[in-house]
Each structure stands twice: as C-alpha cells, then as structure tokens.
C-alpha cells in the first residue's frame, strides 16, 4: 500500500478548531464560576471585582466562540472538499454506509479502517450535533447577556423560554461539551493507536498520512 501526505484541512478550519477549543474551555471554567461564585474576602476591596471580571472573560470568550461557530458554518458550505457538510453528514448513501462502517470499527465488529480523508460520518454526526448545541449556547447566551434587548427577548418569547429557563438550559448544555471533549480525546487517541494517520497533527499541519482512499 502506498502511503503519502494529503492536504485535508485548510488554515481557516484549523484556526476555527483551536479558537473553538480555547473559547469553549474558558467558557466552561468561567461559566462554572459564574454559576457558583466563591470569593476570598481579603481579595475584595474597591479595586477587585472577581465576579465581574469572570463574567467579562466569559463574554469575551463568548464572542470568540460565536465567531468560531459562524466560521465553521461558513466552512460547511464553502470550505474544502472535506470540510463541507455533504462529505460527512450521514444522509447520502455513501455516508450512511460509512457511518455504519465507523460504528462497526469502534465496536470492534469490523477490522477494516475507514478509507476516508475527511471526517468519518459517525464523527460527522457528532460534529453536527456539537454545532447545533453551540448555536443553542450562542442564542441562549445572547438572550442572557442582553436581557433588555427587544431582539433577544423576542426570540425568547418566540421559543417560550424565560430568562430562568434560558439560564438553566445554557448551564445544562455546558455538560454536553465536557462529554464531547472526553469522547473526542479518547477516540482521537484510539485512532492514532490503531490507524496511525496523523489525526492529531493534522489539526496543526492540515495534512494527513494516508493510504489509498475509497472513491
């Protein structure tokens, strides 16, 4: 079999990935603090605002998160061949087949590795779900950030979500990202172990090391 380097991920995709990771981590940590703030009284005086500062960090990270999410949505339609949604959404016959192949491989039912350069459709489904949760976090987050804005309040009314419900769901959805992060890391390392194709380094270099691909 002939192995060689293939260019898979563009610069924007890689930038998106790391902006998303870093902002999500910041959002989770600051969000947990905002949810249940603690303080050391000797740190507090006129010059210290621990809660306000944590909230500001949260809002700044939120804007990075919004930008990253929008960028990924753009790449779903205008990115490279592998970045486009039709390459990994399990809706076409080829992708449905790939979905069950990947599922079978992860369950040790099939021995043949995926012969795709881009996401396998199982991962693709997880990423689509993550994007959906990210958009939900963006919308509920903006609703919480601008409680007096007609636009975001109107959206809340349209979805019949109160501020309190938005806050609750926003907090609940954070746990999805912890879950996703753990699975993502585990599957990555698993893949690197069984099918060393440079999955991790591809998010830095954009290149994968791969044998002959299907179609």
């Amino acid at each position: 079999m002939e192995y060689r380097h293939y260019q898979v991920w563009g610069v924007l995709m890689r930038l998106y990935h790391w902006a998303f990771v870093l902002s999500m981590g910041t959002l989770a940590v600051t969000g947990l603090y905002i949810h249940s703030p603690w303080s050391l009284t000797f740190l507090e005086d006129v010059r210290r605002f621990p809660v306000a500062e944590m909230r500001m960090l949260h809002f700044e990270a939120a804007y990075v998160f919004i930008a990253a999410t929008l960028l990924r949505v753009y790449l779903c339609f205008f990115g490279s061949k592998y970045e486009r949604i039709w390459d990994f959404a399990p809706v076409t016959p080829r992708n449905v087949k790939g979905f069950f192949m990947a599922l079978g491989r992860y369950l040790y039912l099939v021995d043949t590795p995926s012969r795709r350069l881009g996401h396998n459709p199982l991962a693709g489904l997880a990423y689509i779900l993550t994007m959906a949760v990210a958009l939900f976090q963006v919308l509920t987050g903006l609703m919480l950030l601008y409680p007096e804005s007609g636009l975001w309040q109107g959206m809340g009314a349209w979805l019949s979500i109160t501020q309190q419900q938005a806050r609750f769901y926003h907090h609940l959805a954070m746990w999805y990202f912890f879950l996703f992060g753990m699975l993502h890391l585990y599957i990555l390392i698993w893949n690197e172990n069984y099918h060393p194709e440079g999955l991790i380094s591809s998010m830095f270099s954009g290149k994968k090391f791969h044998g002959p691909q299907e179609g």
């Binding site: 563009g10 924007l12 930038l15 006129v46 010059r47 605002f49 809660v51 306000a52 500062e53 909230r55 500001m56 809002f59 700044e60 939120a62 804007y63 990075v64 919004i66 930008a67 990253a68 929008l70 960028l71 753009y74 205008f78 950030l145």
Partner: protein, 364 residues
C-alpha cells in the same frame, strides 16, 4: 400565662403593635435573631428608663429633626419612650433658669449612670469661645456633662468628627467628642443626618446587653457602619456592567444607571443606608437619583469634594464596564472572522476563475 409584653406601662405613647414593630426593626438593623426581640422589648419596656442628657453645640439640629420628625412617628415616640430625655434644648419646654435647673438636677440624680448624647462639633480654638451656652463654653459643658456619664453617644458627623465646622480651614478649631474626651466610652453615630435606626439600635443595644455595641476603628457601631454602601447598593449591577449616568438628567440617569460618574462616593463610604433606608418610605440618596456624598466618613467635606465629580482611583471593571468592554473585543473578533471568510471566498472564486479560463484554453 402572662405575656412578657403585658408589662408595658400604660403611659406609653405608641400602641403595642407599633412598639413591637419598632423593636423588630431595631433587632433587624442590629442583625439579631428574632428570638432576641423579647429581650429588646423587655429592656425597652423596663421601668428604669435611662436618663439622657442631650447637648447641642455647633450644629443645625438636623440630627434631632431627623430623629424626632421621622416620618415613622412610632419610631420617634419609641425613642422618647425608652429613654428619659431630661435635657434637650430644642425639645424641652423649659427655658432660661428653669432649663439650667433641669440640667443640674439631671446631673446630680444620674451621676455615673446617665447617657450623654452630643449633637454638634466642639470649637477648641481661642479657649473655645466660639460656642457658648449659659455663659459656659462648649468645651466646659462637655467636660462637665460627658465626663461623669456612663456612656457618650456622638450623634451626627459634627459630634463624631467635627463635621462642616471642621472643614478646611476650620476657623474655630472644631473637633469631635472622641478627640476631646478621655476615659469615657464614646460611640459615634455619624451621618448628616444619621439614620434614626442606627441611633436607636445603639441605645437599645446598651439597654439590652448593658454594654455598647462593637465598633470599627472610627468608633462607629459595626451593625450600622460595617459595610460599604457600594457593596449593598441597588445600582451596583449597573456599575459592574458599565452603565452610568454621565450627566444629571441624561438617558442613563433616567434609566436608573449607576451614579458613580456624577460623583457618587458609595465606593468609599461605610453605612447601612442601602439596607435600612430612611423615612419609612424606603428612600435614600442613591434611590432618589443623587449620589452618596460620603457623609458618614470623617472630614467628608474635605475628602469627598467635589461632590459631583467621580472618585479617583476607583477602577471600573473591564475599564468601561464588562459588557461594553466585551462587546468592543467581540466586534474586533467578529470583524477579523468576517474578513478571513471574505479572503477565503475571494481566493475560492479567484481559483475557479483561473481554472475555468485554463479549461477554456484547453477546450480551444
């Protein structure tokens, strides 16, 4: 069963209900559990009302007014019910020789047991000649009356720290009681005027526990002056978010935003104003749209002026408030992202154009 409340003297000016209500308010201000209310009631209703001698020096009587003309009439009568006000120049009916007799007899009868309340600053320059009552200087009167007292309560900022008379250049050498008296416990209840609840709380604490309340380094009871106004202010969230009234009457002011930029001194003033409030109507300066002037702090005429300019060295979170700062950063991030997408799209279109034209060439 005999209720502890049944021992009320029939001569009480206020009803049982308002008496208990007043005691409950004071217990809340003191931070006492509701279980302590009966003890307060018992102390307040006891037949041995402490004798109080009230001295007026360099003052405007605003503290007495604030206390006795409180919109909550029960509070005023409660004060007059629990203490025996034996000498108070503006309230007493007696005048001239009769008044002096009253003072003399109160001094003799209650020696070592009465409470001396001082209202107003005490001039010390030139032998104290700038304030004289019945031929005696304020200094002489203070030593004569407050010296043998069981405890001294300085009511208002003037009696506590000198007040407006002591403002630069302090022509009369005005001082607060605590700076002059030695060997007598002095509690300061500053404010211009102080909240009647803070004064009543101090008196009832003394009657209930037989000792004066715990005080801070400036002699102020911690139950009333233990926390910063800024930290309990109802406008505090606006400060954190960066929403300010920039001028009186502007949109921010009308929307009830933070008054820090129009001179509020809440960030460096200790008092219970935002929690206890005034006049039974739930109001206090910041509530009505005027910044705090810091009237419970020593020398506030010198240190808190100009009243309508912001305090120096009070940073606003995120420099201009957390939301507007985050928005500024957010606009940059979103702008850069949009630019990156535009470049990406332009390169894509450019590539396709180049490819298309090369295909055309091949086709030829």
């Amino acid at each position: 069963m005999v209720s502890p409340y049944s021992q009320f003297r029939p001569s009480f000016r206020c009803s049982r209900r308002s008496f208990l209500k007043g005691c409950g308010m004071v217990a809340a201000a003191l931070g006492l559990s509701s279980e302590m209310v009966p003890s307060l009631v018992e102390a307040a209703a006891s037949n041995t009302r402490p004798s109080v001698i009230w001295l007026h020096f360099q003052e405007c009587t605003g503290c007495s007014e604030g206390l006795l003309r409180a919109s909550h009439p029960d509070l005023a009568s409660l004060i007059l019910d629990i203490i025996s006000l034996d000498y108070h120049e503006t309230v007493m009916a007696a005048a001239g020789r009769q008044a002096e007799e009253a003072l003399k007899s109160a001094l003799e009868k209650g020696r070592g047991r009465y409470i001396c309340v001082v209202e107003g600053g005490i001039p010390t320059k030139d032998g104290g000649i700038y304030c004289k009552i019945a031929g005696k200087t304020a200094l002489e009167l203070l030593h004569e009356v407050a010296g043998p007292a069981a405890a001294v309560i300085a009511i208002g900022t003037c009696a506590s720290y000198g007040g407006i008379q002591a403002a630069h250049p302090n022509p009369t050498g005005a001082k607060g009681v605590g700076d002059i008296l030695e060997g007598v416990p002095v509690v300061n209840v500053p404010g211009c005027p102080p909240n009647p609840i803070s004064f009543l709380g101090t008196v009832l604490h003394y009657l209930t526990f037989k000792r004066l309340p715990e005080c801070d380094a400036l002699g102020r009871p911690l139950f009333a002056y233990g926390r910063k106004i800024h930290d309990h202010c109802e406008r505090r969230p606006h400060f954190d978010e960066g929403r300010f009234a920039e001028r009186f009457g502007d949109e921010g002011h009308k929307s009830g935003f933070c008054l820090y930029k129009v001179g509020c001194k809440g960030p460096s003033t200790y008092s219970n104003c935002p929690a206890v409030r005034f006049n039974d109507a739930g109001v206090w300066p910041v509530y009505t749209g005027h910044g705090c002037v810091g009237c419970t702090e020593p020398g506030f005429w010198d240190t808190m002026t100009p009243f309508y300019e912001r305090l120096p060295d009070v940073p606003i979170p995120g420099d201009r408030g957390i939301v507007s700062s985050a928005e500024g950063a957010g606009k940059t991030v979103l702008g850069v992202t949009a630019a990156a997408m535009a470049v990406h799209a332009a390169v894509g279109i450019g590539k396709r154009l180049v490819k298309g034209s090369s295909k055309e060439k091949k086709g030829e």
